[in-house]
């Protein structure tokens, strides 16, 4: 029983990840898709950080007494994820900028309407 409960962090991550994935697949609004990607991204970050946690551990900052006898959580996932968050906001901004330009060009951010317009244009031989 305790063995399977010890995996709860992964299950929460998977639930979050699937909610994000569902938003990306099922919703037509491009802004909503970007929000879904953000939820997906947080779940991946949560996955890495929760793997780095050690029972009874503390934040990976060496106290004045030195490292002897102190248990630290794994610092490596923290490093990788903190840069990933800042890169994530930069790429999210890029995605949102594309959404804004799509709105200006098509007059909508709903994916199905954009697809319909593209198909109509192709039928009329107009690029």
């Amino acid at each position: 029983m305790s063995a399977s409960l010890g995996l709860w962090n992964y299950w929460v991550v998977i639930v979050l990840m699937m909610i994000g994935l569902y938003i990306v697949i099922a919703r037509d609004s491009l802004v909503k898709k970007v929000m879904g990607l953000n939820i997906f991204q947080v779940s991946v970050i949560m996955f890495y950080v929760s793997m780095g946690k050690v029972d009874g551990g503390t934040a990976p900052i060496v106290p004045e007494g030195g490292v002897e006898g102190v248990v630290f959580s794994n610092p490596l996932p923290h490093v990788l994820m903190l840069t990933a968050i800042v890169v994530g906001i930069a790429t999210t901004a890029l995605a949102l900028a594309l959404v804004v330009r799509i709105q200006e060009r098509y007059g909508t951010v709903e994916e199905d309407e954009i697809r319909d317009m593209d198909f109509r244009d192709t039928e009329h031989g107009d690029p």
Partner: protein, 341 residues
């Protein structure tokens, strides 16, 4: 015993994610995304990832929400609700079930003997004080052990910001012959910020913004000893500037920090990082091997190198965040100007 707190926070996290999925009002969904980020920052703190929590709180609950709201202002805040589709749900459920099955072989939460803790992590922890004399292990790994990764990440931020500027500020530059006349042209048809008229917002932000900027400097320069560093300081400083722009208007902020300065700073930050590596080469060491900076004490040289590199990251991230805010905030006036051409 922190276990129940984590469970409660995780339930909140899932509830807010579900409501983002269900809400058709995108404005409300954007606000809940901010709450979602704040809760996850709390969880990162509980998992001992204080540096990650810092970054997530400033980015997710601050800058990201502002960007999504600006996008909604430029597009629409309503979502067309279509008929419910079963197929995506089936795909998601099957994927989730497969992933759940995969977790059965994973090490338990908090298990000290998990494979992830066995390879390089013990070396990093022991080396923090021995090789660097810097107590924050995360800073060491970020700027030195994994300095190449971080250089790459900084360049990605640089590139993404250039992409945003190309997409959103195109067509704005050629309208004004010089920077000054362009600024005046914007002010002419830019309505004054309505938030400036709200006394509470104005006074509270006036009191808070200097403290936020000061705190960003603390996070930057104290990042060797406590949680913090260039990325965190950059997003906190950027968030302070964005708050100023929101309350007092984009043009006022552009008067304080001109876009040209930020564009130069963005490049300068990346240059400072890469240049530190080249300086190591010229002094006879390997790329980003800071020990050569001080021939008497390798630890002292490494400390200096980390300060330089973190400074470069801080400058680049601050400029990137503020420039992205400028690009989104200034889009509507460019669009209005472009319509009359």
């Amino acid at each position: 015993m922190a276990f129940p707190i984590e469970v409660v926070l995780f339930l909140f996290l899932i509830a807010s994610a579900i409501s983002v999925a269900l809400l058709e009002d995108l404005f409300a969904a954007a606000m809940i995304t901010g709450i979602f980020s704040l809760i996850s920052a709390g969880l990162f703190t509980l998992m001992d990832a204080v540096d990650v929590a810092f970054t997530e709180a400033a980015v997710g609950a601050g800058i990201s929400t502002v960007l999504v709201l600006s996008t909604l202002g430029l597009t629409t805040d309503r979502e067309d609700q279509r008929a419910f589709h079963l197929f995506p749900l089936v795909v998601v459920l099957i994927t989730g079930a497969a992933l759940l099955y995969g977790t059965l072989d994973m090490p338990l939460y908090g298990d000290p003997s998990a494979p992830i803790h066995g390879h390089v992590a013990p070396d990093y922890i022991v080396g923090a004080m021995k090789d660097f004399g810097i107590p924050n292990i995360v800073t060491n790994v970020l700027a030195s052990y994994r300095g190449y990764d971080t250089l790459g990440e900084t360049v990605v931020i640089f590139t993404a910001t250039i992409g945003v500027l190309l997409l959103l500020t195109a067509g704005g530059r050629e309208r004004g012959a010089s920077k000054e006349s362009e600024g005046q042209a914007h002010t002419a048809h830019e309505p004054p910020s309505p938030m400036r008229e709200v006394v509470v917002l104005r006074l509270v932000s006036q009191a808070l913004i200097p403290l936020i900027l000061l705190f960003a400097f603390y996070v930057q320069f104290h990042g060797d000893f406590g949680p913090g560093g260039g990325f965190q300081a950059g997003v906190i400083f950027g968030a302070g500037l964005v708050l100023y722009g929101l309350i007092f208007g984009l043009e006022t902020l552009k008067g304080v920090v001109p876009p040209a300065v930020l564009e130069a700073g963005l490049a300068l930050g990346v240059l400072l990082y890469g240049g530190t590596g080249v300086a190591c080469l010229l002094l006879g060491g390997n790329y980003l091997d800071y020990a050569v900076f001080d021939h008497h004490s390798a630890a002292h040289g490494r400390h200096l190198g980390i300060l330089l590199v973190e400074g470069g990251v801080g400058i680049a991230v601050t400029c990137a965040m503020t420039l992205i805010f400028y690009a989104f905030g200034g889009r509507s006036s460019i669009r209005n100007g472009g319509a009359s051409q």
